[in-house]
């Protein structure tokens, strides 16, 4: 008998939108049990291609063969029925429902509800993705939500699993574990399409890589035989931009000091903050590493002023006690903040970029006697767009219409142009393409060089090692002592991320994370 038919074979797939060609004559062949990387920058057409495979988008031209037979995939339900599962980068979960309910919704028809909780526990344990089936999604962090998406796909025994940038929210150890999971799935015969821009990961994991640029295939190769730079050349047609990172020169007077901050969470599934000490001085970038759901959300809310505390001197901003002040009054004292969620928190989806500039930047002379100076607002938005190379039709564009990366650039730019003395950024490059990420990181480094105190919370260790002067780790609502970036490595930080620094006595006293996980 001949070699088995390819699991999935796309030929001549094209898709044109009114303004852009998303895919042009794309061929892609995925063999059974193969881990196949699809590599490309944001906007290269990866997402459209995946949506075509998953039946969300119909191609203008081209054909799809599944296990050798021609098929038409006209809906995600059809794709699932064929055995295609997809873990989206932007999750499709109902926030008010529990994990089990979300999973039950995606499982077709007559899956028996009884025992679903057990199956979720079993699958999630087997693949190292601990989940409580009865938790509600709204209380979960992005990292935990991704686990739900992965487990949801695995429960359907897929023959082809599409993973869209799955590792950005995992610890290095968890990434290794996920890779084991994926390799195991592949050995069992499941094909995996792995979308990423992290070249090292692709070289470590994937058997084949198809590289897309501007909607076209620019090459197919065995990534294990390529170097990161040769892959990067295929992907962006040039070298990867590296941020300039010099030793801190200026010591600004801005500073953020947190002193023994303890805060019970207001979310039944949240994490209590316990005895947090933290100091960020002007002219340095401190990174907070940690697996999502370990108190980052709560720490950010406390630092930004979205949650106001009782003890005013628990947080000192430039020497002033601010823990009792709301977000607006902390901003007036020189704090800027880029939140994790762009739409709905960092920006109002329905409003224009100009109005979204006004949202936090109104102290920059954008109002007079309580009335809005519309020309000044537009000018501020335009300046942000120009300076941070935001791709948009202009200040009147609605925030929702921008791609994630562009909106993030706008939000970061809006905050930076306010001339903050302390800058806090949570997940500044989550889901942002390589080019824009490099730009955002460079902007944070430039801020540092101007003497601003910068705090970056990220679940991407690479990012923290790239830009931070020192790194602290958050685990179970506690913060480790700072480590000089030059003197530490991913292994040490990874170990801290698992909570190794926590004194056992305290750990048994109040560990909400563990309670809920079991």
């Amino acid at each position: 008998m001949d070699a088995p038919a390819p699991r999935l074979q796309l030929s001549g797939i094209s898709k044109t939108y009114p303004s852009v060609v998303a895919n042009a004559d794309v061929d892609l062949t995925v063999l059974p049990g193969e881990i196949h990387a699809v590599l490309g920058e944001n906007g290269a057409g990866k997402s459209t291609l995946m949506k075509i495979i998953y039946g969300v988008v119909e191609p203008d031209a081209g054909s799809i063969r599944w296990n050798g037979a021609p098929v038409e995939i006209n809906s995600p339900a059809r794709a699932r029925a064929l055995g295609i599962g997809m873990v989206f980068q932007h999750f499709s979960l109902f926030e008010t429902l529990t994990v089990a309910e979300n999973i039950a919704l995606a499982l077709d028809a007559d899956v028996v509800r009884m025992g679903l909780d057990e199956r979720i526990r079993e699958v999630s344990q087997r693949y190292g993705l601990p989940l409580d089936p009865r938790r509600r999604v709204h209380s979960m962090s992005v990292g935990e939500r991704q686990r739900v998406e992965i487990v949801r796909c695995l429960l359907q025994d897929p023959q082809l699993l599409i993973m869209d940038e799955p590792t950005s929210v995992l610890t290095p150890q968890a990434v290794l574990k996920l890779f084991e999971t994926l390799r195991r799935l592949a050995r069992e015969g499941c094909s995996i399409v792995y979308i990423s821009h992290k070249l090292d990961e692709i070289r470590a994991l994937c058997h084949t890589a198809t590289v897309l640029r501007a909607g076209r295939v620019t090459g197919t190769c065995d990534p294990r035989k390529e170097s990161s730079s040769s892959l990067a050349r295929l992907m962006i047609g040039g070298e990867l931009p590296r941020p300039q990172h010099r030793q801190a020169r200026t010591r600004g007077d801005g500073a953020l000091v947190v002193d023994r901050l303890s805060l019970p969470t207001d979310d039944p599934f949240g994490t209590d903050l316990v005895d947090i000490d933290l100091s960020v001085q002007g002219g340095e970038i401190v990174g907070v590493a940690g697996v999502s759901g370990n108190g980052q959300k709560e720490l950010m809310a406390a630092l930004s002023g979205e949650r106001v505390l009782d003890r005013a001197d628990a947080i000192m901003l430039n020497g002033e006690p601010v823990a009792g002040l709301d977000a607006a009054r902390r901003r007036a004292l020189g704090l800027a903040f880029v939140p994790e969620e762009r739409l709905g928190r960092g920006a109002v989806p329905e409003l224009s970029l100009a109005d979204n500039a006004l949202l936090t930047a109104h102290r920059q002379g954008l109002t007079r006697r309580g009335f809005i100076r519309h020309p000044a607002v537009r000018a501020y938005a335009q300046a942000t767009i120009d300076k941070f190379k935001v791709k948009s039709p202009g200040p009147d564009a609605v925030a929702r219409s921008l791609s994630g990366g562009n909106l993030q650039k706008f939000i970061v730019g809006r905050e930076i142009l306010q001339g903050p003395r302390v800058m806090i950024a949570a997940q500044p490059t989550w889901g942002v393409d390589v080019g824009a990420s490099a730009q955002i990181r460079q902007a944070l480094i430039d801020l540092r060089d101007e003497g601003v105190a910068v705090l970056v919370v990220s679940e991407e260790l690479d990012e923290l090692f790239e830009i931070c002067d020192s790194i602290v780790v958050i685990a179970q609502g506690r913060l480790s002592s700072p480590k000089q970036t030059r003197l530490t490595n991913a292994e040490e930080i990874g170990l801290l991320m698992s909570g190794s620094f926590i004194v056992p006595v305290a750990a048994s006293a109040a560990s909400t994370v563990h309670d809920h996980a079991n």
Partner: protein
């Protein structure tokens, strides 16, 4: 497309009216004439149109400021009643020893009365997180009973043959007339000023912008440091103030005294007006003229066509129904989906 939906709703309402009149055995063209043209054929009728539009505009502009911020004040009718009580109380207190200063004092008292009544749901919401829709609505009935208590008791006109009504206000406590042959008074100018102020606040002021953000994206408002309790307070108090003004305009205008009921439901109709007007002050002005015409047309239809008074409420309800339906159908498409049958999945291993 959103601005189209009031027009679609009006057209659909007229179509239903057409069918309704035909079904009742009336000539629909004649009925439409009676309903929509006859009331405003005379100067007096035109004055009535503007007179009834005045309290509707006042209430709706204030409500819109709150609705934009997701503060759902349903109790404008009660706040209007309190405005009437407070304004009327001033008029009665200085009945015999007043002057030109009484009227401004009444207006201020009316606005404050409406605000005080609106402050109760605002406080319950910010302190106990009690739903303002329910509390403000319930307070409507408390306000009505309070007014009834007063006109049956303490404030009853001793020379009124035991009718439950107060003395007629003195001339200096009445809003001056602004158009001959009509009952139209200065209240209209007050309403127009409120429209202008409302537009300035909602479109031009930072506070108005922040209230809109609070309505659109509460998390973004919290992120930007916009206080949610201040938003609730502002939304309720603005609505209370304008509803209170509307109450004063009624008792110091066409009514001229306190009666057990001072409003044929203007405070509730204003909710429809606010939405038909797209929560925009100018739209509200136009919508309140339409709603006012429905009131007049309903009266005219009762007299000329012997239709029941319920026809006014029926038109109001139909209009709101079609408006909401048009909003939904403009944003969402109805699709009939058949259930996809799952094909058996072949074993994965080759």
């Amino acid at each position: 497309m959103g601005w189209m939906s009031p027009l679609i709703a009006v057209a659909a309402t007229l179509a239903v009216g057409f069918a309704l009149f035909s079904g009742l055995g009336k000539n629909p063209f004649e009925a439409f004439h009676v309903f929509f043209v006859k009331p405003v054929e005379t100067m007096y009728g035109f004055g009535e149109l503007l007179l009834k539009a005045t309290p509707l505009t006042l209430c709706a502009v204030g409500l819109a400021a709150g609705y934009r911020a997701n503060v759902w004040n349903i109790g404008a009718e009660g706040q209007l009643t309190l405005g009437a009580i407070c304004g009327g109380g001033v008029a009665l207190a200085f009945h015999d020893a007043g002057g030109a200063w009484v009227l401004p004092l009444m207006i201020v008292a009316g606005a404050l009365g409406g605000m005080a009544w609106a402050a109760i749901p605002a406080w319950l919401r910010t302190r106990f997180n009690a739903n303002e829709i329910l509390t403000s609505l319930m307070l409507v009935y408390v306000a009505a009973l309070l007014l009834s208590l007063l006109v049956h008791g303490a404030w009853r006109d001793p020379e009124g043959f035991n009718f439950p009504q107060s003395k007629m206000f003195n001339d200096f406590a009445l809003l001056p007339n602004i158009l001959d042959e009509t009952r139209l008074n200065v209240g209209l100018l007050l309403a127009l000023a409120t429209v202008a102020a409302g537009w300035l606040f909602m479109s031009k002021s930072l506070a108005g912008f922040q209230m809109r953000v609070a309505g659109l994206a509460p998390a973004a408002a919290n992120y930007a440091g916009i206080s949610s309790s201040r938003t609730v307070w502002a939304g309720m108090l603005i609505g209370g103030a304008t509803a209170g003004l509307a109450g004063v305009c009624e008792v110091a205008g066409p009514i001229g005294q306190l009666l057990p009921s001072v409003s044929p439901g203007y405070g509730f109709a204003a909710i429809i007006v606010a939405f038909v007007g797209r929560l925009h002050p100018v739209g509200i002005l136009l919508a309140s003229l339409l709603m006012s015409l429905l009131y007049l047309g309903g009266e005219s239809a009762q007299m000329t066509l012997a239709l029941p008074s319920a026809v006014t409420g029926l038109f109001q309800g139909t209009l709101l129904f079609f408006l909401l339906a048009a909003d939904v159908l403009i944003n969402y498409r109805v699709r009939i989906v058949r259930r996809v049958v799952a094909a058996p999945i072949e074993p994965a291993a080759a």
